[in-house]
């Protein structure tokens, strides 16, 4: 019997190669987070000694962690793969959009515009992403090859049947498919894989001292130029790490003493709070926040 990590890896590589075989202009959406770093690692296994049959594309919200951006640039350079970066900032200017407001201004919704624009600009017909079904209940419902219409919208009622490991990526011009090769991985699987493959990660995944705002919900938010500081904010210095590397404005840090991947695996096994629950502020808005964002073209 094959080990489960080998099976998950083989499934992901199979899916990546299907993308390469079925589409003319695929792209890999790369965020600098652990899931997309795993995707890049899997792409190396799928396509080397050849080049990737797709560029890496990053939608830069302008609220990204410096460490993740540096990591992104270094990785693309080290691998000699093409990196395309498009900035939400530019979309806001070009389209005269309203920037995120409030104490923790989010560009989560705005990101969708930039994403759809870059898809249109390069006529991408498939976008590979690192989303996992264990992250969120709407994601748990999405196919591995998820067809989106011209507006990038997901219609959960119209999902194609997806059987065995036969993937139907046929689409009309203007449509695109979102592809999720690590759909069946959990957070713990990702870490076990990172450990086994000795994959390098940005430093913010490991514990470090950081100045944070302690919110009323008990979340630790990084103090930075985008967050509005108020007089009554409780500022604390804590040893923290990030479980996900999203925007600085809407991703919370978790207290941690994990210096190594082994420490992190131990922490995750013991924690009682889910990845999104611990770190995301954006899903608290409504029970169907993610479903609605996806219907609007979001990843």
């Amino acid at each position: 019997m094959k080990d489960y990590l080998d099976q998950l890896e083989a499934e992901a590589i199979y899916i990546l190669r299907e993308v390469a075989g079925q589409f003319d202009r695929p792209a890999l959406l790369f965020s600098g987070g652990k899931d997309s770093i795993c995707l890049v690692h899997l792409a190396l296994k799928a396509f080397r000694p050849g080049k990737f049959p797709f560029p890496l594309v990053h939608v830069d919200t302008g609220h990204n962690f410096e460490e993740a951006l540096t990591f992104r640039d270094n990785l693309a350079e080290k691998l000699g793969e093409r990196l395309i970066v498009r900035k939400v900032e530019d979309t806001i200017k070009a389209k005269n959009l309203q920037d995120g407001k409030g104490k923790f201004p989010s560009r989560n919704g705005l990101q969708t515009y930039t994403l759809l624009d870059v898809i249109e600009e390069f006529e991408f017909d498939a976008c590979i992403g690192g989303a996992r079904r264990d992250e969120e209940k709407a994601r748990a419902k999405e196919r591995i090859f998820s067809v989106r219409d011209e507006f990038g919208q997901w219609d959960p009622k119209k999902q194609r049947p997806e059987l065995w490991n036969i993937y139907n990526g046929k689409i009309d011009k203007g449509e695109n498919v979102r592809v999720f090769p690590i759909s069946n991985w959990t957070e713990l699987d990702v870490w076990n894989y990172i450990k086994r493959e000795q994959i390098e990660l940005p430093s913010i995944y490991f514990t470090h001292e950081r100045e944070c705002i302690l919110t009323e919900h008990g979340q630790l938010m990084n103090v930075n130029e985008f967050v509005q500081l108020d007089a009554d904010d409780v500022i604390v210095k804590r040893n923290v790490r990030y479980r996900t590397v999203g925007d600085m404005t809407c991703t919370a840090a978790v207290e941690s003493e994990a210096y190594t991947v082994d420490d992190i695996i131990k922490e995750i096994k013991e924690t009682k709070i889910s990845e999104r629950g611990a770190t995301r502020m954006d899903d608290r808005v409504s029970e169907a926040a993610m479903e609605d964002r996806k219907k609007g073209g979001y990843f």
Binding site: Y14, R48, G50, I166
Partner: protein, 414 residues
């Protein structure tokens, strides 16, 4: 650690989603923040227990509003021994194609039966689908035992009814467990209420049921997904055929046949992640190099010379029609088997399978959503295949509507 894929099936409201919720809840696989959210939501759905566990998998707004499952939800949990991939499928007949989606590559089917109702049409339908899909193991969970005073006689009666009904289906292995998903009896914890039951709890069963080692002694089957050609100065002549070994194993030096090209050659080299290996086994993602340059491309099948599959452009199969629009005679289709695609038409609708009795009735020429039919398909290019009962990897296919691009049918080759 092993991987086990299973799905839940059964009639509407038999408690599939609740059972999965219970399994995850009692095995402490749900995070506290998710439990909080569920508790909050449950208050608004009016289920009398503290949390409506079905909400864990019913992740779409429409599902929560209607209290039913519409599409498959995938859930995961891990024990010391195994990682489980669970597909919670809908019970409504209308959504049978989504049930089929969740079931297709499972190692185990859990079919729920409401203890009060016994076997229903949906029980039969899902059992027949499981049989067509060749699911290696069927587990019948007789649920809602709390509503029949946990009576052993009820369980035994359903068990014997099911065994009688399923005789004709040729199911490989069947097991039975009584549970109450709502109260948690015998799901993770064994239960006083069901002390007469000597078998394992569902959880123990899942941890211990053998995962069928599928294909090791099977014929070697490999299909090209993608051709790697770096075309750089150093790797000028590099031409590698990338794909996963579908079944069996391949070795360096094997004499092989390339289909449908129908030429033979030798495996010169096998690489796994750029490292040369002597042998590759089922499931391995590899890159194959051949001694001679033929026009091998995506969809080409590579097999050993002494283990040839069937090769034909006329195929007999059982298909499930999955399109909302009924089949139209002469409709232009694409046939896809793994990475192989060919234009195709359905030549003949031979018979419809009565999904409640498993009888074949002569076709009246129609095929509607969720119908199961025996058909003859003609493909433009010759297909290399094995019968599905022999090899699940090379005997399965989908049909795509060339106009709408939708997947309109899934089939297994006889």
């Amino acid at each position: 650690m092993e991987l086990l894929r299973f799905f839940t099936a059964g009639n509407v409201d038999d408690g599939k989603s609740t059972l999965i919720g219970r399994l995850l809840y009692d095995s402490k696989s749900i995070s506290t923040d998710i439990i909080e959210t569920l508790t909050r939501q449950s208050k608004s759905t009016g289920v009398d227990t503290e949390i409506d566990l079905a909400l864990l998998t019913d992740g779409l707004r429409a599902e929560r509003e209607q209290g039913i499952t519409i599409d498959v939800a995938y859930k995961y949990f891990t024990t010391e021994k195994r990682k489980f991939i669970i597909a919670d499928t809908p019970g409504h007949a209308q959504y049978t194609r989504n049930m089929f989606t969740g079931a297709s590559n499972a190692d185990l089917a859990i079919i729920l039966i409401d203890a009060r109702n016994g076997i229903t049409d949906q029980t039969k339908r899902h059992s027949i689908i499981s049989s067509i899909l060749g699911i290696p193991h069927i587990l019948i969970c007789v649920n809602k035992m709390d509503l029949v005073e946990y009576k052993e006689s009820v369980f035994e009666e359903i068990k014997s009814d099911y065994l009688k009904f399923s005789q004709r289906l040729g199911l490989k292995k069947i097991s039975f467990i009584p549970v109450s998903a709502l109260a948690g009896d015998n799901v993770v914890k064994s239960s006083e209420n069901l002390s007469w039951f000597k078998g394992e709890s569902l959880f123990k069963f899942l941890e211990n049921v053998p995962v069928v080692e599928e294909n090791d002694q099977k014929e070697a089957r490999f299909q090209v997904q993608y051709v790697i050609r770096p075309q750089t100065d150093e790797l000028h002549d590099y031409r590698g055929y990338a794909g996963n070994v579908l079944s069996g194993s391949l070795r360096k030096g094997d004499r092989v046949q390339i289909l449908p090209l129908d030429v033979s050659t030798t495996i010169e080299k096998i690489e796994k992640f750029q490292i040369e290996v002597d042998e590759a086994k089922e499931g391995d993602p590899i890159v194959i190099h051949l001694s001679e340059d033929f026009d091998v491309s995506r969809g080409s099948t590579i097999v050993k010379l002494n283990e040839l599959p069937n090769s034909d452009n006329l195929i007999e199969a059982t298909i499930c029609w999955m399109d909302n629009k009924a089949y139209q005679s002469g409709q232009k289709l694409l046939f896809q088997q793994n990475s192989f695609r060919s234009k195709a038409v359905i030549k003949e609708l031979e018979a419809k399978i009565d999904i409640h009795s498993f009888d074949e009735v002569p076709s009246d020429g129609t095929m509607n959503l969720n119908d199961f039919c025996k058909v003859n398909i003609k493909t433009a290019e010759s297909v290399s295949y094995d019968s599905y009962s022999r090899n699940r990897k090379t005997g399965a296919f989908i049909l795509i509507n060339e106009n709408t691009n939708n997947t309109v049918a899934a089939g297994v080759i006889h």
